[in-house]
């Protein structure tokens, strides 16, 4: 059997996400309960959560979540980590023993910041430095895998059904203003924890339901820019593309969505001149970042969440609103379970991003 | 009204139109069987000289002088096609005398005349010369 990274494994999935626009923090129980009714969209081969705002006391430090297959990997990784980072906290992530969750790796958490000296000497900005560092650990240290690397946020994932994974990680004990969750239905049956979703880089997390047909075109292109798609999953390449466009190219999330789920030429040709030029430019210049095939993704980032469907809307995705909460899920049941009465419920059109950001001025 | 037009520039002088015309008139389905050993009498004829060639067949004139001149009332024009009633034709050749295109000719039996009738007199559907022209030198078009 080959694991993620050795073979490309397409998978069907369930996704859900909840955000409080007022920045109110709420327990992971909501996310667990929301993903639970979509049990049948997963097959027990992966589940995970991303939570934003969960480490307010360490909000200025990077929170690295790391899987270790061996003590040696841990030793090696920590050694490298300590040469580049000032590590404030190193701890085991609390878990609950459950019969449903097996083959656990060692799961550690580090709060840290890169050494200022090093940033100056490399000339890289902090986020670029961290992202390169994570890619380096994940590609070079066998048995160590950084699966969460943002500030004041964290990814929790494992092989199992998502609701079990949530309970395993005791997510009811965490409070965040935004949660996304993922249940996985891979069409092959390896069980590597790193291969579960969400996929993360810095504070970007992506949960995704779909199977993109443009995968290798996207992968081979994005790898030109220093990324290494080690997992061979859609989520990984989508995350990198978003990171590249949003963070490195400085595009807005809307513009990012306009690249990866670009309008059809027939639509562009019918636009007014300014829009036509803009969209033509984006499609032309970033053509290799167009993502085709079915996908529904939830992008989590500091201060917000973006939902996006492929341009043909080949995967279901609904959005619900209740008060200051916005819910996005593969199925309406996932929303109704946690918010039976909604102010509004709709199905976004293919390629049309839904971006929810925490209200301005709210400290997160 | 659709007419046969000749694009001289594209005529190859291959004479296939003549053979296709003659073949269409036989009503046979096998050209080899129909024309083997036969001297053909096509209603379309190629003129050739110094690498110039073109096909000539009845123009189905708007003001057909053959119709007006026919001493037997055997030529008439209906639905854009100048038609010969061979049973009325006595073969006097007045039409040959007046046709400015030289597009009317004696029928092989000599007792009447023949001319292109746009294959309305056979089962071709479209003029056989046009259908068989390899280079678009003869076209059947509305202009």
């Amino acid at each position: 059997m080959q694991n993620e990274g050795e073979i490309r494994i397409p998978s069907g999935c369930a996704i859900t996400g909840v955000i409080s626009k007022s920045g109110e923090r709420f327990s992971g129980e909501t996310a667990i309960r929301s993903i639970e009714p979509m049990h049948d969209r997963s097959n027990g081969l992966g589940g995970g959560f991303a939570a934003y705002g969960i480490y307010p006391q360490n909000r200025d430090l990077y929170a690295f979540h790391v899987f270790y297959d061996s003590a040696r990997a841990k030793e090696e990784c920590e050694q490298v980590l300590q040469t580049s980072f000032d590590v404030t906290v190193a701890e085991k992530i609390p878990t609950r023993k459950m019969p449903q969750i097996t083959d656990e790796p060692a799961i550690w958490r580090y709060f840290c910041l890169p050494y200022e000296k090093l940033l100056q000497s490399t000339g890289l900005d902090e986020r670029e430095f961290v992202s390169r560092f994570v890619v380096k650990i994940n590609t070079q240290i066998r048995g160590a895998y950084v699966f969460s690397s943002g500030k004041n946020m964290g990814v929790f994932k494992a092989v199992g059904f998502p609701e079990d994974v949530g309970r395993y990680y005791r997510l009811e004990d965490y409070e965040g203003y935004c949660w996304t969750a993922h249940g996985r239905y891979p069409t092959n049956t390896p069980g590597w924890w790193g291969g579960a979703h969400p996929f993360n880089l810095l504070d970007y997390t992506v949960v995704h339901n779909g199977e993109i047909s443009s995968y290798d075109a996207n992968r081979r292109f994005i790898e030109m820019f220093g990324y290494r798609c080690t997992l061979l999953t859609d989520t990984e390449v989508i995350t990198y593309i978003i990171d590249y466009l949003n963070r490195r190219q400085g595009m807005s999330l809307e513009e990012t969505a306009d690249v990866i789920a670009a309008p059809f030429w027939s639509e562009i040709d019918a636009m007014d001149e300014a829009d036509r030029k803009k969209f033509t430019y984006l499609r032309n210049v970033y053509s290799s970042m167009l993502i085709t095939g079915p996908f529904s993704i939830l992008l989590g980032f500091t201060g917000g969440m973006m939902a996006l469907n492929d341009r043909l809307k080949l995967r279901s995705m609904v959005v619900g609103e209740k008060g200051d909460r916005v819910y996005v899920a593969s199925e309406e049941c996932a929303i109704r379970t946690v918010a039976p009465e909604l102010d509004r419920l709709w199905s976004p059109r293919g390629g049309e991003p839904v971006i929810i950001q925490v209200n301005e001025g709210v400290r997160i | 009204m659709k007419r046969v037009y000749v694009n001289e520039e594209w005529c190859l002088g291959c004479h296939l139109c003549e053979y296709n015309c003659a073949f269409a008139a036989t009503g046979e389905t096998d050209m080899a069987k129909a024309l083997k050993g036969v001297t053909i009498h096509p209603k379309i004829q190629i003129e050739e000289n110094n690498r110039i060639s073109f096909a000539v067949s009845c123009r189905h004139c708007d003001d057909p002088i053959c119709v007006k001149s026919c001493i037997a009332g055997a030529i008439s024009k209906t639905d854009g096609v100048v038609h010969v009633d061979k049973s009325k034709c006595v073969g006097c050749y007045t039409c040959i005398l007046v046709c400015p295109y030289g597009a009317v000719m004696p029928a092989p039996d000599g007792h009447a005349i023949q001319k292109c009738e746009l294959c309305t007199d056979n089962a071709c559907g479209e003029p056989a010369c046009v259908k068989g022209c390899p280079n678009g030198a003869i076209v059947f078009e509305e202009r």
């Binding site: 047909s213 059809f264 095939g293 043909l312 | 594209w10 053979y19 080899a32």
Partner: protein, 502 residues
């Protein structure tokens, strides 16, 4: 020569039951194979003149003709083939180099046929091009590394380097006026215009009548610089510097004086009736930095408004060469594989020099990505694209677009008799004889070209839809969509694809 050592290559079979002696074959054969015997009233043939172009077969109204390989053979020999012996006789007779036309016909591996395409099943829906948009529009040209913004924050779109916009990623590749006829050129130009793509003048300049097709024309600058002047450069949508040609890498060209008619002479700006000889190298390009100078000279001459294409033959170190070109300022690289056609080339060169385009493409695309300069240039591949599946495979291997020439000529009637060099093309393509040129009616020709490319486009869309891809750029370089069959590890590695079953 008292003894004729050679035997006719073909036999003309005429079914006496079918032949009606209409003499179409006689009138249509520029090689004068057929003749009419008035005494017997039957047709005769001199098969020694036959090149098997099938013009007579195609026009015979009673299907009385067949051209077959002459069953007469030299004594069979597993090592010394018929061709080997014949060619020696010919060279012993003439003392000259052997000349041939069109592409390398030898049985080298055809990698296209060892690559298979993927399709969606269950996990990912295939897309029906009849019901959903299916996009084949492609832009060729250098892509900027970063966006720039206007003061109001909007994206600056005007700073984009010049691009070629193709509605379908298929262009007609270079065939010079002179090597092919006026009517062939017109057919290509009109088809390119209708299809929203481009044709390429080749190295023979641009006939004055065709300037109006300029927006769909790529003008070529080759080592002979025939017909190159300022208006010519300005006339095209892009300028192609031809370094090499897949059919004859490393050598120049030779168009015999017989083909330099009045119009050809005017277009090429050389005296009528003189041989048009292109030098093997550009004598102002002896190194990669010289190329850069020419690239920028042409850009200067055309105010940086036109993309510059550099066309090279696929040779052994093509990836490194392409890397150099990608850094030379060129906007597009065209790579011509060893199956590419020609109007005339030394047989030995055509049949033995160069490498398969599939491998060259895979190597170049991968190399440019490794060097992170793939966005500096677009890649056009040429030389042996036979059908839409080849196009799909080429794009999935990493090409932005393909050049086709042989399929275009075949669409116009070419039967690949491979005797372009004698100038008596019975199909009116590779000839300047007025009576032969007129056999290609561009009104018919351009429609056949349009049909061909439209048909391919539909097939490409169908294959894309099967893969669940609805825009061609998502297929570009998408090598996971390909699998090899019957390829060894090395070949798979170069092609960057997995073996079927993996």
């Amino acid at each position: 020569m008292a003894i004729n050592y050679n035997i006719p290559e073909y036999d003309v079979l005429r079914d006496p039951q079918r032949c009606i002696a209409c003499r179409v074959c006689e009138r249509q054969c520029a090689n004068e194979v057929h003749s009419f015997d008035p005494d017997s009233g039957t047709m005769k043939s001199d098969e020694s003149k036959c090149v098997n172009c099938h013009r007579c077969v195609a026009l015979c109204p009673t299907h009385a003709l067949k051209i077959v390989k002459n069953p007469d053979t030299f004594r069979l020999n597993a090592y010394w083939g018929q061709n080997d012996i014949s060619e020696i006789y010919r060279q012993a007779e003439t003392g000259g180099m052997l000349l041939s036309s069109m592409g390398n016909p030898k049985p080298y591996p055809i990698y296209w046929d060892k690559i298979l395409i993927n399709a969606s099943q269950v996990t990912n829906p295939s897309i029906d091009p009849l019901r959903e948009p299916m996009e084949t529009r492609t832009f060729l040209g250098k892509k900027p590394g970063a966006i720039e913004r206007n003061p109001d924050g909007s994206i600056k779109t005007d700073s984009l380097p010049p691009q070629l916009k193709l509605e379908v990623p298929i262009l007609f590749s270079a065939m010079s006026y002179g090597s092919i006829s006026y009517n062939a050129h017109q057919s290509l130009a009109r088809a390119a215009q209708e299809l929203g793509t481009y044709y390429n003048t080749g190295e023979g300049g641009l006939h004055e009548d065709f300037y109006k097709y300029g927006p769909n024309t790529i003008v070529q600058v080759a080592s002979g610089r025939f017909g190159v002047h300022h208006d010519y450069l300005e006339a095209g949508a892009a300028i192609e510097i031809k370094i090499g040609q897949g059919a004859k890498p490393g050598i120049g060209g030779h168009l015999t004086g017989a083909k330099i008619t009045d119009a050809v002479s005017r277009t090429r700006m050389i005296p009528k009736g003189t041989d048009a000889i292109s030098p093997a190298p550009h004598h102002d390009i002896y190194s990669i930095e010289d190329l850069r100078q020419l690239v920028y000279s042409l850009k200067e001459a055309t105010e940086y408004k036109k993309p510059i294409i550099v066309k090279i033959a696929a040779v052994h170190n093509v990836a490194a060469i392409a890397s150099g070109i990608a850094r030379s300022g060129a906007d597009i690289i065209a790579i011509d594989g060893f199956r590419g056609g020609t109007g005339a080339a030394p047989t030995r060169i055509r049949d033995n020099v160069g490498i398969p385009i599939e491998l060259a493409l895979a190597a170049v695309d991968e190399r440019l990505r490794q060097e992170q300069i793939r966005s500096n240039v677009s890649l056009i591949v040429a030389g042996g694209i036979r059908n839409s599946a080849d196009v799909v495979k080429a794009i999935a291997l990493g090409a932005d677009a393909v050049y086709i020439a042989t399929p275009a000529l075949i669409a116009l009637g070419c039967h690949l008799c491979r005797t372009c060099q004698i100038g008596k093309c019975n199909w009116g393509i590779a000839t300047q004889r007025p009576d032969l040129v007129k056999r290609l009616n561009p009104d018919i020709g351009y429609k056949r070209l349009m049909n061909l490319v439209s048909a391919w486009q539909h097939e490409i869309m169908e294959m894309m839809g099967g893969m669940g891809i609805n825009s061609i750029e998502a297929m570009r370089g998408n090598r996971l969509m390909l699998r090899g069959v019957g390829l060894n590890e090395k070949e798979l590695e170069i092609l960057g694809i997995k073996h079927a079953g993996e």
